[in-house]
């Protein structure tokens, strides 16, 4: 669970920087007090949680179906971890990546009340490399409960960064924080890359 939490925590910083600044005006638009902010933020986080739980279910059943073969079960998770971790590292340090957030499409939503929910859905299924890694992890867990726990830890880690969102406008040196967050994402990618390589090598040794 710790690695899922860390993955969420590290990718959360990059997510906050790339998506948070788009979400912030929408979450805060037209709101006057902390109560409204708390309601919007709760709706946003609750939506994310529900989407993650659904993803955990789908990922686990999907994993049961495709990892039934021994050879696939031995090598595929490791390979997927390596591939998605490489994507996450590239996302972190690659110069040509597009750090655009799918949350931009909320601009098409007119109803302000629905915006936090819509943002929650878009943010959860943004399919960034970190999410692909956690889906792989959820799919390879032994039980459905373990898959839920992995997603919950990921949700908790990434959500921490959204809590101070109401104060985002007051953050100085936003660019520096963004750079550190993106590097942290790349480090998380490296951790999962090592995990993937260990799984593959372990598979080769054990076969």
């Amino acid at each position: 669970m710790a690695d899922s939490f860390i993955l969420g925590l590290s990718s959360g910083t990059a997510c906050l920087v790339t998506c948070g600044m788009i979400m912030f005006p929408y979450l805060m638009a037209g709101t006057a007090g902390t109560r409204r902010i708390a309601i919007d933020l709760s709706a946003f986080l609750l939506t994310r949680l529900l989407v993650y739980l659904m993803l955990a279910t789908v990922a686990w059943y999907f994993g049961q179906a495709i990892f039934s073969s021994a050879i696939v079960h031995t090598y595929l998770p490791g390979i997927l971890f390596v591939v998605f971790a490489a994507l996450l590292i590239w996302y972190g340090i690659g110069k040509n990546r597009k750090k655009a957030c799918p949350a931009k499409i909320v601009r098409t939503v007119d109803n302000n009340r629905l915006v936090p929910v819509f943002l929650g859905i878009v943010n959860s299924i943004g399919f960034c490399p970190a999410l692909l890694i956690i889906i792989t992890k959820g799919a390879t867990e032994g039980t459905l409960v373990q898959s839920y726990l992995a997603f919950l830890a990921f949700f908790a880690g990434s959500s921490l960064w959204f809590l101070p969102l109401p104060f985002a406008g007051k953050i100085r040196k936003r660019e520096v924080i963004g750079t550190i967050g993106i590097f942290a994402t790349a480090i998380a990618g490296t951790i999962f890359m090592i995990k993937g390589i260990t799984l593959i090598v372990g598979g080769i040794i054990n076969v």
């Binding site: 860390i6 750079t179 942290a184 372990g202």
Partner: protein, 383 residues
């Protein structure tokens, strides 16, 4: 690139340089002998005198020639090599190996190093326990003395600790001097924020797992000190990570770029020291009236602490470790050691003398034990 080349900083006259060296001479003698000189053991006496004379000669040369970095680097590199030698010799004598076993962890026999400090803070605050299998007080490289020494050094020197106190920094400092010109010139200076990401990750992972994750998985200096016994795939992967990071960040990249890449791009304690650089009274200042904006200081800075913007602002950034390389390189004497609150271009000599005294005294005291031990061991080996 350079607009002008003129004669660089001259030193002091012989008598004055000797006078400035005298206090260091007396203090280091008192420290090395413990106030009670005992010259009965010939090998020990030779080791003591070699260390003592060598240190004071370097300090004298700093004053006599006016150059800082070239003499600082000598003691800094010797410190790194001798510390590794001391550690390895101790490990081999105690365990017949550089590696430690699970039993050593359980018995808290692992030597402590300052790089663990950022990982200890959160777990110590919440669990009131130290997440490192070392000795709290007493014994070889105990936790309390290392923490106190680091705390004093970082408050007084700021990131100066990274060039005047860290017993690992000498490794990549040494390798960064192998080539006369860098083969790798274009490195984005945004990488200098990487240690903060490493700090964030290791502090959080250590807090979550109650394991010093940096030491467990990332420390390149495990390759030249002590490491976990390779008994399974995981410990094998860890050993691979240590060796790769050492080979890449401590050897290959510093050789190619002439930069201290491990210190700049990985070390989490460097990030903490960068923050404490805001507290220290010492700094590097640039006299804008004397500066001809040749940017040689930017080029030679091993820690990406100077940018053209910093030169225009008239001071080094918080990443500065006060190694003195830029000061030595400045042909216009525009860049100098300074004290916060004192305008640039004023009290240059006093600021340098004060900083050199404090920082050299720290490295002399901190390194003398391992240097003396190394000299004695080498003498025993030869004779």
């Amino acid at each position: 690139m350079y607009k002008d080349q003129t004669i660089s900083t001259p030193g002091k006259p012989l008598g004055k340089a000797l006078l400035y060296t005298l206090p260091m001479f007396l203090i280091t003698f008192m420290f090395l002998t413990g106030g009670r000189p005992d010259f009965t053991d010939t090998t020990q006496t030779v080791a003591l005198l070699t260390t003592f004379m060598g240190m004071n000669l370097l300090y004298f040369l700093m004053h006599f020639t006016g150059k800082t970095d070239r003499y600082r680097a000598v003691i800094f590199i010797i410190f790194a090599l001798s510390l590794s030698f001391t550690l390895i010799k101790n490990m081999v004598e105690i365990r017949n190996s550089m590696s430690f076993s699970q039993a050593d962890i359980v018995e808290c026999k692992i030597p402590f190093c300052h790089l663990v400090i950022p990982m200890m803070i959160i777990p110590a605050a919440f669990t009131k326990s130290i997440i490192f299998p070392g000795t709290i007080i007493g014994g070889f490289a105990d936790i309390s003395s290392m923490v106190v020494l680091w705390l004093i050094a970082t408050l007084v020197l700021g990131r100066g600790f990274c060039s005047w106190g860290c017993f690992y920094g000498g490794w990549d400092d040494g390798f960064s001097r192998f080539r006369k010109r860098p083969a790798l010139r274009k490195i984005s200076d945004s990488w200098k924020w990487m240690p903060f990401a490493v700090l964030l990750m290791v502090a959080l992972t250590a807090a979550l797992t109650l394991i010093p994750t940096y030491c467990d998985w990332m420390c390149p200096f495990k390759a030249v000190t002590e490491f976990e016994q390779v008994t399974n795939l995981e410990s094998g992967v860890k050993a691979g990570v240590f060796i790769s990071l050492f080979g890449g960040l401590v050897v290959a990249l510093p050789v190619m770029s002439r930069k201290r890449t491990q210190c700049s791009f990985l070390c989490p304690l460097g990030a903490v020291n960068t923050v404490s650089n805001k507290v220290t009274p010492f700094t590097i200042k640039i006299d804008k009236t004397a500066c001809n904006e040749c940017y040689k200081c930017v080029e030679v800075c091993p820690l990406f602490a100077l940018t053209p913007d910093d030169v225009k602002r008239g001071k080094a950034s918080v990443f500065c470790s006060k190694c003195g390389k830029c000061v030595d390189a400045c042909t216009k004497k525009a860049i100098h050691f300074g004290i916060k609150g004192v305008p640039a271009g004023t009290m240059k000599g006093f600021s340098r003398n004060l900083f050199l005294f404090v920082s050299f005294l720290f490295i002399a005291v901190f390194s003398s034990g391992s240097i003396m031990f190394t000299v004695r061991s080498l003498l025993n080996l030869i004779f």
